[in-house]
């Protein structure tokens, strides 16, 4: 009996010790992980996976393979308008009031034909309509119908110089600190047939909360690449000189430039 009791209390002691050790280990882990999280060298190591992912995922994607397109009946009832609140600048509000007649899309940078497009001009160009799924980096998905002008149509008219590597989208929305939203894609994604500048959503003019008057759809990447409220498209050789140099608003805050995952 006493041996049994001894056994039991020893077991209790061992269990307690194990629990304690587990807790110490766990909080130690947390401290270690958080410490590593602040370590620049370690962060660069983690970030090295991005290039590998980009190369591999693109290598397995056949050229001009289309993202899945859905049916009218699949369109979501709810489509969360994420990101910054709509712009409230005088220009934006004025442009919205007169139905975007005074708004212009500016094309600049390394192109032979810089210029400006009105919304009516964009609508007169060949268009593409697609019902696609929008995948947010947070995890949610929503399906909508988009109509717009393929980016290739703009590129045919602007004629990018051979040095141009990236297409940068400058937007009208800003965050609380006044930083403007922007995004960039490279020529491979810019030339994809489903990469369009959308001016219609679900058969109606693009709503303000979804980026009126013009937003990007780049269907092989996550939602944050799909710049809203576009005012200027710039062709560049490198995006290192723009904002904090990572190629986009969220990229500047640690998110991957390649958002194919």
């Amino acid at each position: 009996m006493s041996e049994n009791n001894l056994d039991r209390s020893r077991r209790k002691l061992l269990l307690g010790a194990a629990q304690g050790a587990g807790l110490v280990l766990l909080s130690g882990c947390e401290r270690m992980f958080n410490g590593l999280q602040q370590n620049q060298a370690f962060l660069s190591l983690l970030e090295s996976a991005e290039g590998l992912n980009r190369r591999l995922l693109r290598a397995v994607t056949p050229r001009n393979k289309l993202a899945q397109e859905f049916n009218q009946g699949d369109i979501s009832r709810t489509f969360k308008p994420n990101g910054n609140p709509p712009p409230i600048t005088m220009d934006y509000v004025a442009d919205a009031k007169n139905n975007w007649q005074t708004w212009r899309l500016e094309i600049s940078g390394l192109v032979k034909q810089p210029g400006r497009f009105s919304l009516a001009e964009l609508k007169s160009l060949p268009s593409r309509t697609q019902i696609t799924r929008h995948d947010c980096v947070e995890g949610w998905s929503a399906i909508a119908k988009w109509k717009g002008v393929p980016l290739t149509e703009i590129m045919q008219r602007a004629q990018p110089a051979p040095a141009a590597q990236y297409v940068v989208f400058h937007c009208m929305d800003t965050d609380d600190n006044g930083s403007s939203y922007y995004e960039s894609v490279d020529l491979l994604d810019a030339n994809h047939p489903q990469t369009i500048l959308a001016y219609e959503m679900n058969d109606r003019a693009l709503p303000v909360e979804h980026g009126a008057p013009l937003r990007l759809r780049v269907e092989n990447q996550l939602g944050y690449k799909h710049a809203k409220y576009i005012r200027k498209i710039e062709f560049v050789a490198s995006y290192e000189k723009i904002a904090r140099g990572k190629g986009g608003y969220w990229e500047d805050q640690g998110y991957e430039w390649y958002a194919g995952i």
Binding site: F33, Q68, T78, G139, A142, I261
Partner: protein
Amino acid sequence: MADLVYRQNRITRTTHWINAIALIVLFMSGLQIFNAFPRLHWGNTTEPEEAFLSIAATNDEGDVRGHTELFGYRIDTTGFLGVQNTDLGPAPRAFPSWLTIPGFFWLAGGRRWHFFFAWIFTLNGLLYIIYNVANGHMRKFLLGPKDAALLPAMALYYLRLRKESPQQDEYNPLQKMAYTGVFLILTPLIILSGMAMSPQLNMAFNWLPSMFGGRQSARSVHFILTFLFVGFTFGHVLMALTTGALNNMRSILTGWYKETRPKPEEEPVWLETFTEEMIKKPAKIPVSRQLSAPTALEASPAPEEHPATPQAAQDNGTPSSESANEQSAPEPSGETSPTESKEAKKDVGE
């Protein structure tokens, strides 16, 4: 004799620990990613009212509570899920900071960890599989039809409803089922469901999310499989701790394992070999060495034979007195202990 046998080679040990680290990081960074949208859905999209699992916080006039809702059943999980108690008071958070990497809320960081260690997990797993297929070890722990038939018996044995283990090979049928499930079902499915969330891979392989029933189904499957992995890991660690924790740790750290179970070829005990062993074994204990001194041996050449069946003793045709032999050999069991043999010798001496 406790034999140290070299059981885990360098590749097994290395891949085991890399896998352990990768799984921990994938689990914790995965929860960080989940926290950005703590709901689960089936199909392709996320209509708010259609979530089958959600973790949320409510604030009722300053009373901040965490709730977890599964198929409409809502439970208060304040302090663990939904709301975490911090030094600064209750904070809304699906999974608590001590379960996520990084500990603070940073989706981008969680993604970096997750996608880096997904590579480590995959490459490490590939190395392990290729190595074990090449050396033929894989065959030993994959469940075959013969093992499947033994599964109920093995389960009964574990539940202590059956005395003898039906184990025939190096791994028992339940072990084989667990390993086969993890290798052939769990691992491929968790990798595929993870890949099915990638927009680029959805473009490359339209069937990838469809095979799960949509991208959100894939996300839910990924989450559920995670907890099957956690369950397997807990079972694995529990087994390792309860079947000789130190010995198991030595084996997975250094490769050397102390073999205590008799080897299968030693199990059937033949009379001839048995008598020899009986003499040898007590001989290690000084006291019994005195007892099995030449006098005892000469008086009755093989009193130690008693554990064998009386029939076997007769077959052997020992010249010892029949009565003494019958009295001292009531147990047909093949096992013996020093005390038993001592008593037997006393009988003979009288």
